[in-house]
């Protein structure tokens, strides 16, 4: 992908995340707080439609952002707030979209499921399950044809590995040796169905074998393990070594979407996963590395404050208006 502007705020945020481990931590906290707040705001009836949040899966998003260059491409899903924020999309662009404001990623015409920012490599987040898999393959094909060193990452859920597009995409990538990484966020559920009820294998990574593709299972709650696995796959793809399927074992704390109370989960499951919260795990690690624990605590308050400021700014900004509908359907206006 081409970078439109060097001074853009999303690019700055992307660089910031890559600067230090503290910034990586800060971005995970930001994602958690934004997601919690979005659920609250929906609950207050301030936002129409639906939303799919990613509390519990923050480590995957920031690991992708830590490894990739802004010229690399990411194709991810409707559960995309975390990935967007990690890659650099501003809180205002995300919340603006959800509140239907002109400053939103899509000018406020799309809502929670439709985020994008090509300057940091984020393709429009795909609301059709599996749609982003072959499209990520296509971005890698373009990189191969153009002779760039860019890589593409397709991010999707466990449930998406049962759809044709996943298998067709993997096969193409393998047979053409494309620079793409398939990153499956296995959060154990596809909507209300546990993966075991819809899928005969527990490690989805084994599905790579039928395409002679490398694969790896990784702890999705451990940022460092994720960074290692994704970095290795990305490096191989950049060097012409072809695709990899990485399966991150993770968990979504909230329901599938805002209306889902997740009553189908076995008792104690959520609590067990909360014991391995990716933010807490990373915090413990940072403290062990000598980072001041109170500085890490302060990050929460700083992020909370910034979030409230962003919400205020978004709510004071103009709503999308009827004539906006007529733009961007094709070149020009209709």
């Amino acid at each position: 992908m081409t970078v439109a502007s060097e001074t853009n705020e999303a690019l700055r945020r992307r660089a910031a995340l890559q600067e230090s481990r503290l910034e990586l931590f800060r971005r995970m906290v930001e994602i958690r707080l934004v997601e919690d707040r979005i659920i609250e705001l929906f609950g207050e009836g301030l936002i129409p439609g639906s939303t799919h949040t990613c509390q519990g899966q923050e480590a995957v998003s920031v690991a992708v952002a830590a490894v990739l260059r802004p010229t690399d491409t990411v194709a991810c899903t409707y559960r995309g707030h975390g990935m967007a924020l990690a890659l650099g999309v501003t809180r205002e662009a995300l919340l603006g979209e959800i509140f239907g404001r002109k400053i939103g990623c899509m000018g406020g015409l799309g809502g929670s499921m439709h985020l994008s920012d090509p300057t940091v490599g984020l393709l429009p987040t795909f609301a059709i399950v599996g749609a982003g898999v072959p499209i990520g393959v296509g971005a890698a094909l373009a990189a191969q044809l153009q002779g760039t060193e860019d890589v593409s990452v397709s991010v999707f859920g466990d449930g998406a590995t049962n759809i044709g597009g996943f298998h067709e995409g993997l096969n193409l990538a393998a047979v053409w040796s494309l620079p793409v990484v398939f990153l499956c966020e296995n959060n154990l559920y596809g909507e209300y169905s546990p993966i075991a009820r819809t899928t005969p294998v527990t490690d989805l990574a084994v599905r790579a074998a039928s395409y002679q593709m490398r694969s790896e299972v990784v702890d999705g709650q451990d940022v460092d393990a994720l960074i290692d696995a994704i970095a290795a796959a990305v490096a191989r793809a950049r060097d012409g070594g072809g695709p990899t399927l990485v399966e991150a074992k993770t968990y979504r704390y909230a329901g599938h979407s805002r209306s889902d109370k997740a009553t189908y989960r076995p008792e104690g499951e959520l609590e067990r996963w909360l014991q391995r919260d990716p933010i807490t795990l990373f915090k413990t690690k940072l403290v062990d590395e000598g980072v001041d624990g109170s500085a890490l605590e302060a990050v929460w308050e700083e992020c909370r404050l910034q979030l409230e400021q962003s919400i205020e700014a978004v709510l004071a900004s103009p709503l999308a208006e009827p004539s906006d509908m007529l733009a961007n359907v094709t070149a020009g206006r209709i």
Partner: protein, 334 residues
């Protein structure tokens, strides 16, 4: 008389039909344990068991294709496509396979298959979850397409679809699932496919509506200076030519109120047929009230996008007074 929500009426219709005929079974994503994302299969798993009420993986092509195979092999499957957009990944199985089974076998086979999907805008779900998409289907010989406008017609049309010996698609306006309507739920109150209904009588104009625009047209007509025959078309393939023609012979004016975009909308079919058949009875050119030719926008703008009762009333006011077609709201914008 029963006063039911539309989703309850659908559950009831399916239950009664399954009780009547053992060959009927239901499958789709989260239709069994979760009783449907929109609660359109309430109580069915408990009543009929997991063999006849089946949760599927996220594999629309797979399970719709399996339904086609089962249908030509003596079963009468009902397939739920949670959002009709998801038919996109399975379209071949419906339009190129199911629709042609009778034809391809020289009449030896037939596919008594019901495909139900939620359709349309109004819930703020954004451009990939708000379309009606009847246009993908209505030009396909071998397929029938029905669209309920509330609990009563959902009950009768669902039964008709299930009892039909050819593939029938039921497009359920998702904004109406929670709406209640009192009606006589006689187990044999089947609404024949291809038969519309006149709701409210008037001599000035014939307004043909479908799905959620039926309510729009009725409220527009309720406090208007003109009097209309409001026709609930109920089936768009094959549609009730006779009923519409008879009304237009009386009123001399034809209006369609469509939720879909202007280009290629079902109303174009009605208008062209009626102009050919009733040319001498028409006092003026017909008018189509539709959405603009843009993707469905999110948030507040969705209300502007859909033809509202106020918009219909204002446009029909001008139409009846001047016998000319006023420009659409979006033409005033660009």
């Amino acid at each position: 008389m029963k006063r039911l929500r539309m989703n309850q009426a659908i559950s009831l219709a399916i239950a009664e039909e399954m009780e009547r005929d053992e060959r009927i079974f239901l499958m789709g994503e989260d239709v069994a344990e979760a009783e449907g994302t929109f609660k359109t299969s309430e109580g069915l798993l408990a009543r009929f068991g997991p063999s006849r009420v089946r949760d599927t993986p996220i594999s629309e092509m797979g399970f719709l294709g399996a339904a086609v195979g089962a249908a030509v092999s003596g079963m009468r499957p009902i397939v739920e496509i949670m959002f009709i957009e998801f038919l996109g990944v399975a379209l071949d199985q419906l339009v190129t396979e199911a629709a042609l089974m009778r034809y391809l076998s020289g009449g030896a086979l037939h596919a008594p298959l019901t495909v139900r999907g939620s359709a349309g805008a109004g819930l703020g779900f954004g451009c990939q979850h708000s379309q009606t998409l009847e246009r993908w289907l209505v030009g396909t010989p071998g397929l029938k397409v029905v669209v309920p406008s509330g609990a009563r017609s959902a009950y009768g049309l669902t039964k008709a679809a299930i009892r039909d010996d050819d593939p029938v698609v039921v497009l359920e306006p998702r904004a109406l699932y929670g709406r209640r309507e009192a009606f006589d739920a006689d187990p044999d109150a089947v609404i024949p496919i291809g038969v519309g209904e006149v709701l409210g009588q008037g001599d000035d104009v014939t307004i043909v509506a479908l799905g959620q625009t039926v309510e729009t047209a009725r409220s527009a007509a309720a406090d208007a200076s003109w009097a209309a025959d409001v026709v609930d078309l109920r089936t768009i393939q094959p549609w009730d030519h006779e009923l519409v023609a008879e009304s237009v012979e009386k009123t001399g004016r034809l209006v369609t109120v469509e939720e879909n975009q202007f280009t290629g909308g079902w109303g174009a079919e009605i208008v062209s047929s009626i102009v050919s058949a009733c040319f001498v009875s028409l006092k003026c050119p017909p008018m189509r009230l539709t959405a603009p030719d843009v993707p469905v926008p999110y948030g507040e703008l969705e209300r502007q996008y859909l033809p509202s009762a106020d918009y219909v009333r204002t446009q029909v006011d001008v139409f009846v007074k001047t016998d000319t077609v006023p420009s659409a709201w979006w033409e005033e914008l660009s």
